[in-house]
Amino acid sequence: MQHLLNWILWTPALGIIGTLLIPGKAHNTIRIWSLLVTAITFAMTILLYCQFDQAAPGMQEYFNIKFPWIEQFHIYYSLGVDGISLPMVLLTGLLFFLCILSSWTIEKSVKSYFALFLMLEASVFGVFLALDFFLFYVFWEVMLIPMFFLIGIWGGENREYAAVKFFLYTFAGSVLMLVGLIALYFQSGANSESFNILALQGGKFGDEVVTLFGTDWNFGILVFIGMFIAFAIKVPIFPFHTWLPHAHVQAPTAVSVILAGVLLKMGTYGFLRIAFPILPEAAVYFRDWIAWLGLINVIYGALCAMAQSDMKKLIAYSSVSHMGFVMLGLAAMTTQGTNGAVLQMFNHGTSTSMMFLMVGVLYERSHHRWIVRPDGTKGFGGLYTKLPIYSIVFIISMFASMGLPGLSGFISEALIFLGIYKEFTTITVLALIGLLVGAAYLLWMFKRMFFGEVIPSVAGYHDMNAREILYMAPLCITVILLGVYPAPILNIMKESVGSLVQLLAKFQ
Amino acid sequence: MNMFLMIIFTLSAFLAVGGALSVAFAKNLIHACVYLLFSLIGVAGLYLTLGAEFVAATQLVVYVGGVVVLLLFAIMLTGGSNLHHVTSRFGLESTPLMGNLRTYIMGIVTALLLIAVLCNVLQGSISASAVVESKFSSTVEQIGVKLVTDHILAFEISSVLLLGALVGAAIIARPYRSSETEN
């Protein structure tokens, strides 16, 4: 059990080897194998949840793993889990399992697809579990490789452009993070603790000064800016958001789900795990900026979403909007706000995944995603009549996404508002516009696609099959359960979040 | 000084030196090859005078019985010295196969230079060398022991080398497969 984190991290990696050993023609064997691997991984994350000590605020000592890796530079292979990373680990395990199911219809080089998918899973787990900054960075970069190929090979018409854009954009950010981590390494004395994320925490760089271009700069602020850009690109925060619509539109369904459901969370997770605890003074110094950027994200994303006629693009912009709420919650630096942000990370992961999966289900029937085609005709119409089960699942995912009470999104958004109101009243008031528009674009899309007469092109569609229901059902249940009773997730995170908030409160 | 040895030395030395000189200056390649045979036999005799009977025997078996025959075969397969290409592929006049005056002058000049060098080098060592008399005894056993103890590695490597040479020679000398199919 003590090596559970190792197992979670390396089971998908072992699965890749298994995938590569299966002959490429045996499509179903590969699929079942990948499903098995992800299912085992998911089961282990559940096990981790069960064994988790909810009362402990920091890293769970019991699960910590630490071996020297590159001793000359004091780099360790060190893994750990706390209340902030556990929800993300759970989310990752769940979504990858479901995405394998939804990728059943992939026919183009099946073997490499699933191998890359498992590689993606391993690297994402690595990011969420790493306690060594260098290890974190390595996994962060490794994650780009499978993503690049998954978008670039299995994507839509314009896939190369999107893949290259995604890669370069994220990579540009990573370079800044690399600079930051090296700077921290040397500033903290290049000793055995210099890559240890936990040891770096606690505001040790507040008064350090560096000279750059002949001027004195505050070290913490400078490094924070670099890291902020790195993580902001991933979140994505306006004005670094434009890779997201491209990547989402071009990526295949399952990759969109992972991209929106898990990868965006890596950005905010980076703030929670690295940027805020290591450089609290700078975080407090920039919190106004972060809040305003989050607000822009919320409103701008929602307004842009309203103008889209491509379903995936619409949902991509809605992701921008929802991640803006997370940033607002982070900027609040209060118990409610930060808890709400972490919960929103989880909830957005489930709800937006549902939306993307639903689009994927429809896309398999229609082979287009136009709400309104470019020539002005309807892309869909009367789906409610034609696909009743699909419509109901769509309604659940749509309302979960817009934050209807009783479904998961509401609690996190309400907590964020509660957290941020005292700190930024004006921003709270303005952010509510985002909540309003957020309902508008989704319902408007729903109205245009599902109501009215059945248009001829829709007439041949069949309703969701058993496999599709199978992978939507867990998400629906999660969304409803967490909407009615969010304590299972909140209980595991509150102690860790509380200690983070206390740390930040010291510097306000 | 053993008279018998002296005679054998003198004969062998003449044979070796004469053969070598004949090789150097013979007009016909077949003849040169036969002269080489004599020279090698001479060297074998010299080995005998030095008490290295095993080396001498090997010399005879390998060189005289093997290498020279091989050379003769090669000469015959390639037409010996009968081929007289006076022009090269580029239309330039080329030296005859067995050399002409110019090449010999160059050779002799070089030889003179080398004689000078050898004299220069050997001066010290010859004067310093002491004459040691030794009994004439069989070396076969010692060599055998040496080969399988101290020099076992070289021995094994040489066996591999021979095998490689054998296979390599066979492969290299084999005609082209494509030319086979053409034919």
Partner: protein, 100 residues
Amino acid sequence: MGIIPYIVVSSILFICGIIVMIARKNIIAILLGIELVLNAAALNFVAFTKFNNMNIDGHVFALFIILVAAAEAAVGLAIVIRFFQVRESIHIDSATQLQS
């Protein structure tokens, strides 16, 4: 009788070999020269063994030289034959290209 006669003989063999190697244009003839040079070297080994120390190692070296000479002759002649097949000549100056 000392070492000097042997050295003189081996030197003559050596110089003859060198002359052959330089003066001849026939590849096989050059191989003959090489054999001469090798013999000269082997002779020296044996001679020095006899007169300078009583170690049997010199004999072993001579044996290896013979061995290597044999191998070299086999491979060298195979190359010559192949060369002849390709170029229809065994003139040393026509060996200007590695590629056939």
